[in-house]
């Protein structure tokens, strides 16, 4: 079936225009400022931004290498609390907040999610790891357990004081 | 010895609507199987019947069947190349492609059932060589490569003299592979159902029987597809082999259970499988022994049925049914029986200690299993279409 050249040209221009329209609308979605600009993602910055473990430029390029290396020394050798510990990162980049809503990895405002969603680099860290810091009272499982134990301590003491019936 | 004309092989050319609809149907089932696996991956294994008690379920039954059958399907090529039985030579190429197809199907199920299938690259780059599982990864992938090379050497007439050493390598490799598959269970000292050196040779004989049964079924199907001549005399030769192999499987099962019965400490487990295990006992006596061993033997050796091809096909189907039952009992029955951690005590806990664990396969597991089987069949049926694997005809021998 022969398509008439002018008709072909018309079809091609319609398709191209349509595609560009879709593209522009999509770009507009991403940008937070004026039409046509692509914005850099802006996730929540940590309060103490000046004191990250490495300079920002280094972290931007190499944070994954530090993490990948640190995870092996932690799991295999038991090194905890070191410079690149993930818990340390999260405590700074997504600390527990008293009365505000905790930001989870699914939120675009999460420090890691912000850039990773934009760059479309899927990470699976938070399938297992905690994506938020815990408050100091939650952090200290010891105090939590002690609280809990107070209750059961009373039961224990009662049981211990009773003659063993078995 | 009379010289015979060179065997001619040709791609099958059938293009009937029936043929295509079967092929498309299989493709759809295979795709559904992959979708089921994806759903299992996204949702987690809680949607399956597998649990912390029965960790390997129906997908593993399918996968191990396909892998064991794959290694056995190569037998006929080995009989030709390694043992010099010229009568099996025309079937050697089909044997090779079937072996590849079945193994790929089985491996696919195994890999798709992993908790983290996206870490396949990790599995292929981190090896713990004390683990038979790690060896199996190498053995399975190596098998595919070696048999592909073997098939090519058989098809490429100029390289024909290399097909013998390739056949020998493939034969030895598949013995190691089947030993490895049986040892997955045989090396598990913790469980009463396993912990036996007998499992490795038993799996080898199982592979002979299951592989040949699959071979017979798919051979008759493939010849019928293109209406090529397959004289009954060729099938009768296979009949005798199937009889010997099925008897072999029966022998190993008897020896395995008799030996376990001799140990008083195993009596609870044997009682579970042979008498009080509900579904497992039913499957054992009715399906594995009755339908899978004894009835096929009767069909194969009955004097009045000697010439019949259809009884051979039925016997093959029964052997395969028995195979599934046997693997179900080995894999799932072996896990359902509790570990004996505290001899002399009755045990109770929230982690199902001391009780027979329950398992009922979910739809997803069936779909994944069927997906693997249809993938294997598709590979075989498409393979004989694009490559000159099927003999143009196997008439009665002129000797």
């Amino acid at each position: 079936m022969q398509i008439h050249p002018p008709l072909l040209r018309l079809l091609a221009s319609i398709i191209l225009l349509g595609a560009s329209a879709v593209g522009l609308v999509a770009a507009a979605d991403v940008s937070t400022s004026s039409f046509g600009e692509i914005a850099i993602p802006s996730p929540n910055k940590p309060a103490d931004a000046a004191n990250c473990v490495e300079p920002v430029a280094v972290m931007r390029r190499d944070h994954m290498k530090f993490l990948l290396h640190q995870r092996d020394t932690t799991v295999l050798e038991g090194e905890r609390g070191k410079k690149y510990s993930l818990v340390g990162c999260i405590d700074c980049h997504n600390p527990a907040k008293a009365n505000e809503e905790i930001v989870r990895y699914e939120d675009p405002q999460h420090f890691c999610a912000g850039c990773h969603n934009y760059a479309s680099v899927k990470i699976d860290c938070f399938e297992c790891h905690a994506d938020r810091g815990l408050s100091s009272s939650q952090q200290s499982n010891l105090s939590l357990q002690a609280d809990r134990l107070q209750l059961s301590m009373q039961t224990f003491r009662q049981k211990l004081e009773q003659p063993r019936g078995d | 010895m009379k010289t015979q004309p060179a065997m001619r092989y040709a791609e099958i050319k059938t293009s009937t609507p029936g043929y295509w609809s079967v092929l498309i149907g299989m493709a759809v089932i295979a795709l559904i199987g992959f979708a089921a696996a994806h759903h299992m991956d996204v949702e987690g294994h809680h949607i399956t019947g597998m649990s912390n008690q029965v960790v390997w379920g129906l997908p593993h039954v399918f996968a191990i069947f396909l892998i064991v059958a794959a290694s056995g399907a190569l037998n006929l090529a080995s009989l030709a190349s390694v043992f010099g039985k010229q009568a099996y030579k025309p079937l050697a190429r089909f044997s090779a492609i079937l072996a590849i197809a079945l193994l790929v199907g089985g491996l696919a199920i195994l890999l798709l059932d992993l908790g983290r299938p996206e870490r396949l690259v990790v599995a292929m780059t981190h090896y713990n060589f004390k683990s038979i599982f790690a060896w199996n990864i190498i053995l399975y992938t190596g098998f595919i490569v070696i048999v592909m090379a073997y098939l090519w050497l058989m098809m490429e007439r100029r390289m024909h003299r290399w097909s013998k050493p390739a056949g020998l390598l493939a034969f030895v490799w598949r013995l190691v592979l089947t030993t490895g598959t049986g040892s997955i269970f045989g090396f598990l000292v913790a469980r009463e159902a396993y912990d036996s050196a007998l499992l490795a040779p038993m799996f080898i004989v199982m592979s002979f029987a299951f592989g040949l049964a699959m071979f017979i079924l798919l051979l008759t199907l493939s010849f019928r597809l293109d209406q090529r001549e397959l004289d009954a005399s060729h099938l009768q030769r296979l009949r005798k082999l199937l009889g010997i192999f099925t008897a072999g499987v029966f022998y190993f099962v008897v020896v395995f259970h008799l030996t376990k019965l001799y140990g008083t400490q195993n009596h609870d487990f044997e009682r579970f499988i042979l008498a009080e295990g509900g579904i497992y006992t039913l499957l054992f006596w009715l399906v594995q022994i009755g339908l899978g061993n004894l009835l096929p033997l009767a069909l194969i050796y009955a004097p009045r049925l000697q010439g019949s091809s259809s009884t051979l096909v039925i016997a093959s189907m029964l052997v395969i049914l028995g195979a599934f039952a046997q693997l179900y009992i080995i894999i799932i029955g072996g896990q359902a029986f509790p570990l004996n951690i505290f001899p002399g005590y009755a045990v109770e806990s929230s982690f199902f200690d001391g009780v027979i664990s329950e398992y009922s396969p979910s739809l997803w597991e069936f779909l994944l299993g069927f997906g693997g089987v249809t993938s294997a069949l598709l590979i075989a049926l498409l393979g004989i279409r694009v490559l000159p694997i099927m003999p143009e005809g196997l008439p009665a021998e002129t000797q």
Binding site: V87, C128 | N52, V54, L114, R119, A190, S350, D353
Partner: protein, 250 residues
């Protein structure tokens, strides 16, 4: 701007990293049990080996419940009654002597064997034993094949069957991997010989030590002294696995 980035001295970090990665790759290929140095120094001069001594005579049912509870709170898992897919790092086991009818309760967890079958069978080496004897799953490498669960003589391991949320920072756990008792390795790495696993902390009240943690290889440690004085049994001792968890009263 581009030149500034180029001038940043990354090479030492990169060299370190490559060295570490190469060493790691070499050790990962080593068969079977893989040994890693730990940060702990042994007081006895020998390679230390952490273990637990559990006195079942001193543990009532409520005590064992408290152990299980404490582990859950520490690591963020939940024991669900009658759920075959629920994880269970530690469980209460009720033993009834079939002849005398005597009942006792004990906590059952990963036994941290010296020759762990789970380590032998893991295809990727994710299940491994540290030099200090703690048997762990490296969940970064675990592919979720569950072969270690088949191999464990104590049914200590659990597979995670669903997507998890709200994990605790000390205990990363996720769908598709296998886990088990870690002997509170995060506490051990922090406190060494003074560490008290959560289960022990729950029952060691008022000076009694129903669950004692210590260095089995140090003859002067409290656990070794108690073992010498009172003895203990290893579960499934006939298998020759030399577990690090010992039980008294069985």
């Amino acid at each position: 701007m581009a030149t500034e980035l180029d001038n940043i001295e990354l090479r030492p970090a990169r060299r370190q990293f490559l060295k570490g990665a190469a060493a790691l790759a070499a050790t990962l290929v080593a068969p079977g049990v893989m040994l890693y140095k730990t940060g702990q120094a042994s007081t006895s001069g020998q390679q230390l080996r952490w273990g637990l001594l559990i006195d079942t005579n001193a543990l009532s049912e409520a005590d064992v419940d408290a152990c299980v509870d404490a582990c859950q709170r520490e690591h963020g898992w939940k024991a669900e009654v009658n759920s075959p897919t629920a994880a269970q790092w530690i469980r209460k086991v009720k033993l009834t002597d079939t002849e005398s009818g005597h009942q006792r309760f004990l906590p059952m967890m990963c036994q941290h064997c010296a020759d762990p079958p789970c380590v032998d069978v893991c295809p990727t080496g994710a299940s491994f034993k540290r030099a200090d004897g703690i048997v762990l799953v490296n969940k970064h490498t675990c592919i979720g094949c569950r072969y270690c669960m088949m191999a464990c003589p104590y049914k200590a391991r659990s597979f995670i069957h669903e997507t998890l949320k709200d994990q605790l920072p000390v205990a990363p756990r996720g769908k598709g991997t296998v886990e088990s008792c870690t002997l509170c390795v995060h506490r051990v790495d922090r406190d060494g010989a003074n560490a008290v696993p959560a289960c022990a902390e729950a029952v060691n009240q008022g000076g009694r030590k129903a669950i004692l943690f210590g260095d089995l290889n140090d003859p002067q440690s409290e656990i070794s002294q108690r073992l010498r004085k009172l003895g203990a049994v290893k579960l499934r001792a006939d298998m020759g696995l030399n577990p690090g968890v010992r039980y008294q009263g069985l």
